[in-house]
Subunit: 418 residues, 2 copies
């Protein structure tokens, strides 16, 4: 069987299984998640044994320490997978909730009801824990899922996918509701992206290169963000101590993630007071600052920023700093360089706060809070499958509800159209 036939067959069986998942009760779906969690506990040795094969192969291939770290299914990572499944099983089930029900003048009762999306394809790179996290959330929302993980995590993903299969079958559901594409061949992604008849949504997770490849090659809708270039703007009326805390947290708490601050914008009238103290704080934690000419004047230790530094996603302890004359200049800078992911203002001025949240075109816009709050868990979605910077369907963190859609149900008594 060719790769194309194999993947087409697999996708069709996922479509079949999705029909059954869509009408599966909440109790049954939660039971599946708990069964997976139990097997992660009982099969931990087997999982870590398979994982060690990937780690050995990765070291042989010369993967960086950061990559090896992401690949490792340590006790702690397995525990967090178990914890995640338990949390998702306790979330409310979005499927079947009705909103916006009304009666038309002719007596037709119209309602929109949440339904699963159907089959969701996840294309991801090195973290094998995504296999469990994504399957848990997709199943909770009544979907089937097709997983295609990175080749470096092959053995880890295969064993996790097997455990999910067994849990589904044990609960009397079709194991085919979770499919893993068992090939290291990259061509498999292209074939997957052409299964428009069987897959309803693709979510790519990984570097910008992978995501652009997916968008270019997919006829299936894709939810994604290319990168997170997040800004914090310190207004002239900001509380300076709050500003320092928020900027420090936004940059330093976890610099390698998409909701970390990459550029700090400072109102000119407070730059002389704010910047020297802020720079010292950053310097204590080895944050490299790259500033506009005015910033470099005020804090001579700051390295001059190059044009590429504006709009750069450093994912590291590096920060671009710019002094702006007013909020309009800050918003214009954000318009030009933001990735529509997360942007924040620190201010004590009511009308500036309103203007900023209205005008800034990002998935999460914050007033007086750290950019690090753009996260499904932090914003109360329970768990998240990713963050979207496309405005269609979901803009921002995506939880279980974002893995559903709505259909119209119309109840009549024989109405016909005049």
């Amino acid at each position: 069987m060719s790769l194309e036939q194999a993947i087409t067959t697999l996708a069709k069986s996922a479509r079949q299984a999705a029909r059954k998942m869509a009408v599966c009760s909440t109790i049954k779906k939660n039971q599946v998640l708990e069964t997976i969690a139990e097997s992660l506990i009982s099969q931990k040795d087997r999982i870590q044994n398979e994982n060690s094969k990937d780690l050995a192969y990765g070291r042989e291939k010369g993967l960086s320490n950061a990559m090896i770290d992401r690949l490792t299914l340590s006790d702690k990572v397995i525990d967090s997978m178990i914890q995640g499944l338990k949390e998702v099983s306790q979330l409310p089930d979005p499927v079947g909730t009705t909103w916006n029900s009304y009666v038309r003048p002719n007596g037709l009762q119209v309602a929109r009801v949440r339904i699963p999306l159907g089959v969701i394809g996840i294309i991801y790179e090195s973290r094998p824990n995504v296999t469990i996290d994504a399957a848990g959330l997709c199943l909770k929302a009544g979907n089937a899922i097709i997983l295609r993980g990175g080749s470096e995590a092959y053995h880890s993903n295969m064993v996790l996918a097997q455990l999910i299969y067994q849990a589904l079958e044990l609960c009397g559901l079709s194991g085919e509701a979770v499919q893993y594409i068992p090939t290291r061949d990259r061509e498999a992604i292209k074939v997957m992206l052409a299964q428009e008849e069987s897959i309803d949504l693709i979510i790519p997770r990984g570097g910008e290169g992978l995501i652009r490849f997916v968008v270019q090659n997919s006829t299936i809708p894709v939810l994604k963000h290319y990168k997170g270039v997040c800004h914090v703007y310190i207004d002239e009326n900001a509380d300076l101590s709050m500003s320092e805390n928020i900027c420090f947290n936004s940059k330093v708490q976890r610099p390698g993630v998409c909701n970390a601050m990459e550029t700090m914008l400072v109102h000119a009238s407070i730059a002389n007071t704010f910047l020297p103290a802020m720079a010292r704080h950053f310097s204590d934690y080895a944050v490299e600052l790259r500033g506009c000419p005015k910033t470099c004047e005020i804090v001579p230790e700051v390295k001059p920023a190059t044009p590429e530094d504006w709009g750069a996603e450093f994912l590291d302890l590096i920060l671009a700093v710019k002094i702006v004359e007013n909020m309009d200049e800050a918003i214009a800078h954000i318009d030009q360089y933001s990735s529509n992911h997360t942007d924040a203002i620190v201010t004590s001025d009511y009308s500036r706060a309103r203007q900023f949240v209205n005008q800034v075109d990002s998935s999460v816009v914050l007033v007086n809070a750290s950019t690090r709050f753009n996260d499904g868990g932090q914003l109360g979605l329970g768990a998240e499958i990713g963050i979207s910077t496309s405005k269609l369907h979901a803009f921002g963190p995506m939880g279980a509800e974002e893995l559903t859609g709505t259909k119209f149900i119309v109840m009549g008594d024989g109405q016909i159209r005049e």
Copy 2:
């Protein structure tokens, strides 16, 4: 300037204009719609004069009567454009409405607020009235719009786009919020579909060929339906007179549209009573029936259906008819052949009604009502820009609200992430 440069420039200027439209007040947006409506009244002669150029060219090219009919901006069509603008101006403005606002344990106040999608690209074929209808709804929802109409409606679309431009400028807004791609070159569509940086959504309207071309070539999200293959299932407990009315209305009231019935499924136990009377009714209105072998046994005048008739979108006075042993067989048939557009059951049985609406995977599922109700106006959305059979973002008719998305707004008092 090359075609690519020209369209890229045009798309960027739409993106700029969209930023201003996004923060435009409801009063101002309604004023624009009313101004366009007034200019349709005052410039009717000029519009019809331009339209006559297209009609002359169309007749020369040998367009069918149906095509010429769609192309014609008669007094009646212009009146309905004016009426449509007035209705849309009276709709509630979806932008700025907040839903699902709550306070997190750390005091952060989280809300989701409706925002315009940004720039919407509409690719359509022969009906020039789409220029006005689409622009009206997109502007109401605070979006900019890029229009690319059919080459056969070139002069009509150009004059309508000019009137919209003038109305925007007259109201003090940027005329660039509505752009028309002024070329008959089909390559223009490809260039348009590559403007991922400037266009947020593509809505194609037209034949299946055009829509498939758009999906294949777009890196921008597309909302569409390929076709409408709608079913009505007559259950054994159905009221037969109601069934006859609903089936007749679903097929005959307007056979050329996507929400017309294409296949009728009849429970075996009532086929002998229901089918002969129904067939006579259809035959009086020249509806050609194509039946399964059992149907042909009961009504010998019925032509045998070929395998291609199941799942066919006839868009004409032709209907496929199949007798099924039970509802499961009806649902399985719908699963296999439906286009996920509109499907209906006629029944008096409570649990069958529930089962049908839960299991049938279509954008609008009806009980005891005509399929012709899958329409934005009929379902109370006010106006519609199209019907989506993709489950993402919008599934079913799309009104002004479906031309918006949501962003998260987070209000804090200095919260940082622990």
